[in-house]
Symmetry: C2
């Protein structure tokens, strides 16, 4: 087993952040409900949002081969907030001034080494809108596995990033996610719900 | 226009919560990376999680008719953190001691008036695992629209809940979500990604 395996990471301790938080702010919101009554609500917000108002990109990278069915590119990464190794899609925060499309292709290249072509960018989507304003655009990318530059992809990770890439067949993504859950991995909702949508379309013959 | 329309709500102001937050806590996590190095991370966490370790349920409610194609039940709800009216699925927090399945059918009845049958409960899924530990189970429910109890569904909302239900055809969910985005509604990632999964299965003939 490589010494960089995400499974080797572990949570040591947890304490209230007090006034020391650098990345997340807690906000008290005052709003008027549809009846005109003034109420309060709490929200957790990133302190790093760039001018465009979009935090990040998620990349649904579909690997296309000449001689076998399409696969989806997934990642294993230790995530302290959920105290475990998560199954996610390639993703990242948008740099200041960067477009969604440029950020998606940059993050894909940095995290996985692959180059791809964008076929769709979703509207801005909100991860958990009753709890936080964090958001992203889901960008669907085709990775042509016959291209010379996709033969030996090399990631360019930062020294605090430990990401392991793997693939599963796109057509059986839901079954593969269920297996990963049984193995103890934590599932990212955004990945799992794409899998669930594919499964529903298949089961309901949509 | 009804006086309870979610579009009538609005954000008035926003300020740092300081020590006054009741629902969300900010945590500083210490963890060991895969190389053994000790690092810190921040996490936003619900203070209301029940013993089971699962915050809530999302309900993918599919309305089945005798004489027309399946529809999916969606909601419009003003969400202060995203400063707008969100397109979501019926959802709610799990009461202490409640099972995922009981919570899903209870929330569906309370928020929409419908009764349904569960066909699938997802593993626990995490909304934004690099940012927060909030999670849910996605429960897929079939609502038989020929049943007498589903003819005139009446919701039982709390006095601070303003939810408007509507439906779109399941087979064209992605197109309907795109229209709602253009109309200025904010899209919940968990709903949009199911729509995107259905669209991918259709386009790629999975």
């Amino acid at each position: 087993m490589s010494k960089n395996k995400p499974e080797l990471a572990k949570l040591i301790s947890s304490k209230p952040a007090g006034d020391s938080s650098k990345w997340i702010g807690l906000k008290k919101l005052t709003y008027q409900d549809p009846n005109g009554r003034v109420r309060e609500w709490e929200s957790a917000e990133r302190l790093t949002r760039s001018e465009g108002g979009v935090d990040g990109v998620g990349i649904l990278a579909i690997l296309r081969y000449a001689n076998k069915p399409d696969e989806i590119l997934l990642q294993k990464q230790f995530r302290p907030p959920v105290e475990g190794v998560c199954i996610e899609m390639p993703a990242g925060l948008i740099d200041g001034g960067e477009s969604i499309e440029i950020a998606a292709l940059r993050e894909l290249k940095e995290e996985t080494g692959y180059v791809g072509d964008i076929i769709n960018s979703s509207p801005i989507i909100f991860n958990d809108p009753g709890f936080t304003n964090t958001n992203l655009s889901l960008v669907t990318v085709i990775v042509d596995m016959s291209l010379p530059e996709n033969q030996n992809p090399v990631s360019e990770l930062e020294e605090n990033e430990f990401i392991e890439c793997f693939t599963v067949p796109l057509a059986s993504m839901a079954e593969e996610m269920a297996k990963l859950d049984k193995q103890g991995y934590k599932l990212d909702a955004r990945v799992q719900n794409v899998a669930q949508g594919i499964k529903i379309a298949q089961d309901f013959k949509l």
